[in-house]
Amino acid sequence: MKNKYSAYSLSFFLMFVTVLMVSGCKTLPANAPEGFAAYQGENPFRAVSPDGVMYRVRTEENKPFAELSFWKTALKKHMNDSGYRFISESEVKTDTQTGYQLELSAPVGDKDYTYLIALFVKGDTLIIAEASGEMTRFKKLQTSIVEAIKKIKG
């Protein structure tokens, strides 16, 4: 009888530990844009196109805790102060969230690069999607990149 209770206790304990482990993992349900190949590893999630356009999704701590409107201003100012050229900004929506999308450009060597950033605030976590590549190559893939951003499930 005692052994039976011990077996039950052990199995409950194992289930509990498994649930804890699963809930503790911060998985990033991000998908690669169409035509991109994904690297192994989830945070950051990384994918690349055959012509070198990069796509990366990662999380950061929302610290100090702030809403999207606060981070929008801070991000734009920081990138502008760093010397990136502003191209456009817009709202971006996934199934569950509304985020902020900022398109910048910068010279890299003798090429001009596009640097696209999408930011989502989910409680104490910031979800950051970044994409970059040589401007003309990037332009061709921009639609599939934005579609991938819209499918991020934070």
């Binding site: 690297y39 990366r56 610290k63 100090p64 760093s82």
Partner: protein, 216 residues
């Protein structure tokens, strides 16, 4: 007054009105049009990103020539055009279809005052020259040299003024359009890492490129 007389008078009246309209159309209005608006020199700089700058430059040069314009400078990453001012907007719109527009700058310089000043000076100098030439005709041997020297100086001034006016008129007639195929300022963004918000310090294109390069 008979009915026929009425018809003849009204016909004459109509002819006078039409003549008046035609006079306005061919004399007064064109002059009004000529002097309407300020005399502005236009300069536009367009930065576009495209995959094949060489063929785009050739294409833009052909387009400029078809619009009675020409190019004044050609380099790997930039072409400078002079396009008739009335056609410059159309040319700029065509340039924008060639690639992704990164930057557009437009500036104008008013030439009204300078041009008026130079034209007035030219008129005055020409009058002075005429007077000198009249004096020269009746000049005595003693004074002929000094009058000739004065004529020479005024002629030189007139030529300089004529040159400036021609230059300004050309500047007004042809807009300057500079097309760059990449940012002229090649300074890369600076990574300072000094933001008070730690995650913002991770937002850097160079770091992202390195992150992907490490994976190779």
């Amino acid at each position: 007054m008979t009915m026929n007389q009425h018809i003849i008078i009204s016909k004459r009246f109509t002819i006078k009105i039409m003549a008046g309209i035609l006079f306005c159309l061919f004399t007064v209005l064109p002059e009004a049009h000529t002097f309407a608006g300020p005399a502005l020199f236009e300069q536009s700089t367009l930065t576009i990103s495209l995959s094949d700058p060489d063929s785009a430059a050739d294409d833009l040069i052909a387009k400029a020539q078809s619009l009675d314009g020409y190019f004044t400078y050609l380099a790997d990453q930039s072409v400078t055009f002079r396009i008739p001012s009335s056609k410059s907007a159309g040319f700029l719109a065509y340039c924008e279809t060639k690639g992704i527009v990164l930057e557009k700058q437009f500036e104008t310089t008013g030439f009204d005052e300078q041009l008026d000043q130079k034209r007035t000076s030219l008129k005055a100098k020409q009058e002075i020259l005429d007077r000198y030439l009249a004096v020269l005709k009746n000049a005595k041997k003693k004074t002929i040299v000094s009058v000739e020297r004065a004529v020479q100086e005024v002629t030189s001034d007139i030529e300089t003024l004529k040159g400036s006016i021609t230059y300004m008129e050309h500047e007004l007639a042809f807009a300057k359009i500079i097309v760059q195929f990449q940012f002229k300022d090649r300074t890369a963004p600076v990574y300072s890492g000094t933001s008070s918000f730690p995650w913002l310090n991770t937002m850097n294109l160079q770091t992202m490129i390195e992150d992907f390069n490490d994976e190779k």
